[in-house]
Point group: C2
Chain length 465, copies 2
């Protein structure tokens, strides 16, 4: 595809934006709330709507039945054997609209209203993920209208259970392995760096979750009649957890940092170039200092360094006032956020050993592991990432931020685990879009430039070596 051709696609997008918005509104009007059984029919209706919409665009489209709500799988494989295979993933389900009373209008009657950033569409799912999905599909539609074809062999996968924990996703990926074969996954479910700056999320932290329970006496004891000689499991627990960090904020579990790669220099440079406002970010959550490892910036601590968080702690009496008890047990729930190079199983084993080595006499530890997944990083010099960086720079006049994400995105981990595929995360939401909250919005400027950027990316993928 040459430059004049992409310019024609972009011009088509610009000229047809009202029609694009109308099709987007059609989808927003279907209250496809996957978490609520009363909306099961609406979810199926949304799946059928998307199947028919894709079929109307020339895709081979079908529902992929699951134990829960169906997926939609649609293929457009006419770009030839040398063109890359792209799997576009999105989801057609939305969060519940509660609390309804805080919405300014019916959450399923999309409104075009003015805001500080220009016109915006307000509805449940405006951005997450119906808006971002329609943005990609409208970019595809423009390619098809102008060129009667696509620069890549494209498969579309739309999930119907993303907002309720993706209970059927693993089974669907396994069952549809052949249909979903691709070179990489494209996801549009993340945010821009800011209104004027695009972002590619190139790393996600993994997660290892474990609960430890410390037992001691064979029953709750009176802390006067037994206190002193009787082991207190809360003491045993806090003694261990109090050792978890050293004075520089490093996690003291031996081997915890083994295998972690340096952050690539150009990624670090990209982060530094953002001019990220550390004080503002910390101030927004009521803090003044970064609490993680000394010597790393806020972004590095959150995006590129592993953590140990005690998410919950419990033991003994928690009601009003005081109770003179030595409890029979105490426990804590921890999650470790992991970065590429760390082995989740080794992290869990290291924590177990750390606890066992610090147990007071007569204390016993029991462990419950709630899951372990590795950190993921997309090589920023992979052809599809280079193509996306180029396309985004062309559209926005500046390089995208190569962002990390401190959290995990389970579908990305599932694509890696089930299909062996890396995922390109590019999205055009903004941090203040109120996803999952009342008055969710997607700004028209973001939708519009998002369509254009997606069209450019599709073209760039097709030209990638």
């Amino acid at each position: 595809m040459n430059n004049s051709s992409i310019e024609a696609v972009l011009a088509h997008i610009d000229a047809n934006i009202d029609a694009s918005r109308a099709r987007w509104f059609d989808l927003l009007r279907i209250p496809s709330i996957s978490a609520q059984a009363a909306h099961k029919g609406d979810c199926i209706r949304a799946a059928e709507h998307m199947r028919d919409l894709l079929a109307g665009m020339g895709f081979e489209a079908r529902l992929a039945e699951t134990a829960g709500l169906p997926g939609v799988i649609a293929t457009h494989h006419h770009a030839g054997g040398n063109a890359p295979r792209v799997l576009f993933y999105g989801h057609y389900d939305v969060q519940p609209a509660d609390p309804i009373g805080l919405w300014h209008a019916d959450p399923f009657d999309p409104q075009l209203v003015d805001g500080p950033g220009g016109p915006r569409v307000v509805a449940r799912g405006a951005v997450d993920d119906k808006g971002q999905v329609m943005m990609v599909l409208e970019a595809i539609r423009a390619h098809l209208a102008v060129n009667e074809g696509l620069p890549v062999n494209l498969t579309v996968l739309l999930e119907g259970e993303e907002e309720c924990g993706s209970p059927s996703l693993d089974a669907m990926l396994e069952a549809e392995r052949a249909a979903l074969a691709a070179d990489f996954v494209l996801v549009a479910d993340t945010n821009m760096w800011n209104r004027d700056t695009p972002a590619i999320t190139t790393s996600l932290r993994g997660l290892a979750a474990v609960e430890v329970k410390i037992t001691g006496p064979n029953r709750d004891l009176h802390s006067g009649l037994f206190g002193g000689p009787a082991l207190n499991p809360i003491r045993a627990l806090t003694r261990i957890l109090g050792d978890l960090f050293d004075a520089t904020g490093r996690i003291a579990i031996p081997g915890f940092y083994d295998g972690i790669a340096e952050i690539p220099a150009d990624v670090l440079a990209s982060w530094r170039a953002t001019g990220f406002d550390e004080a503002g970010w910390l101030g927004g959550i009521g803090l003044q200092q970064a609490s993680g490892e000394h010597g790393f910036s806020v972004l590095e601590q959150n995006w590129a360094r592993p953590t140990a968080e005690i998410n919950g702690i419990f033991g003994g009496y928690q009601g009003d006032g005081s109770k003179t008890v030595i409890p029979a047990e105490a426990g804590a729930k921890l999650t470790f956020r992991l970065v590429p190079g760390q082995d989740p199983a080794r992290v869990i084993d290291g924590f177990r050993a750390f606890v066992q080595q610090r147990l007071l006499p007569d204390a016993q530890a029991q462990f419950q592991v709630y899951g372990a997944s590795p950190g993921l990083m997309v090589p920023i010099d992979a052809p599809f990432v280079r193509a996306a960086r180029r396309a985004l720079a062309d559209e926005f006049g500046k390089a995208p931020v190569l962002a990390g994400c401190g959290a995990s995105i389970p579908v990305v981990e599932a694509f890696e685990r089930q299909l062996g595929l890396q995922t390109l995360l590019v999205g055009f939401g903004l941090d203040d879009d109120c996803i999952h909250s009342p008055n969710e919005k997607f700004e028209m400027k973001c939708f519009h430039r998002g369509m254009r950027a997606e069209a450019r990316m599709l073209a760039a993928f097709g030209m990638a070596e």
Copy 2:
């Protein structure tokens, strides 16, 4: 009083034990459960019963009205100005009988049944405290019958709310200060060392109760999106509490041990002479090693050394599974058991400073104090203690154990605080008497020897220099 006279009193006790038991049963038949409003009338009936019984013995007896259930105050002040003034304290109320289904008979229909230690009386209040009260009153009755007088000027105070936290006691002690004037308090509400060995409880630990709450971020945060740079209050809390004990089990708060006196050599010798079974005591609560300060025995750790116990800890998610949250706050409830010489206010202040000095940046600590009372010790060479030791040795053929108690006894603290009086704690219960539990019992042998020992103690008080 000479030896032949006390022998006559003892002989009277032996000869009239059936009548003593019958009067004890009369009291046990009144279900004076102070915690249950439905039994308010029974409690008042028990108070009137005791008033009338004491009046029948020659006391000036009356009810002492309170905001709750009445006390009974009775005086027998005919021993002359040189005789010591003794305030005998007991309580006429009892614990609820629940769970009723586990009793072998009606808890308020006392039964005389055989057991491994000989005949026993089974009823709610058999020992706690109706049995022990009647044991003392029957010893007094024997003195009056044989000698037509008492060796001391005696005031009896019976409380009706001991089993529900003594809400009116402080006000009653203050209102009746003149009526209750005495040289010391005698209480019969504790246990023997074992069936053959009497005990005097000469020390009680005090209590300082405090809650600490650590706050950090201004709201609960997602531990992926914020973890690393965001302060976790559970981390801040466990870091502090993990420092609370050093490697030898000592409490690391500066000045915590200031002012503690050495345990008197003869008290220590008395404890060592008990042959206390440390392994058996620890095994009974599922433990093998004493958890307190190294270098102290189990008895010393529980009776004579202060403790810091974390009675409860809380923060973040405590439900099933895992939740990726950094909570906005976390907290712990602690009690310090104190021994004589420690200043409760200084202990609380020391803990505050200990916490403040270890707070991570941006963490804030709030404290709530739930009370602070000092440890108490009765000087074992006080005349009334020496008299009791002599009397108990005469009755049992061996010296009493000078025991400590790891817990606090609020009435003892109230006598000290309100009336400036020290308390002699001598009782004849056994550890397996099931107080507060179904099938509470008092063994006839304990009741009988208890009456004899109380008679000897009264005589010995009268002869004390």
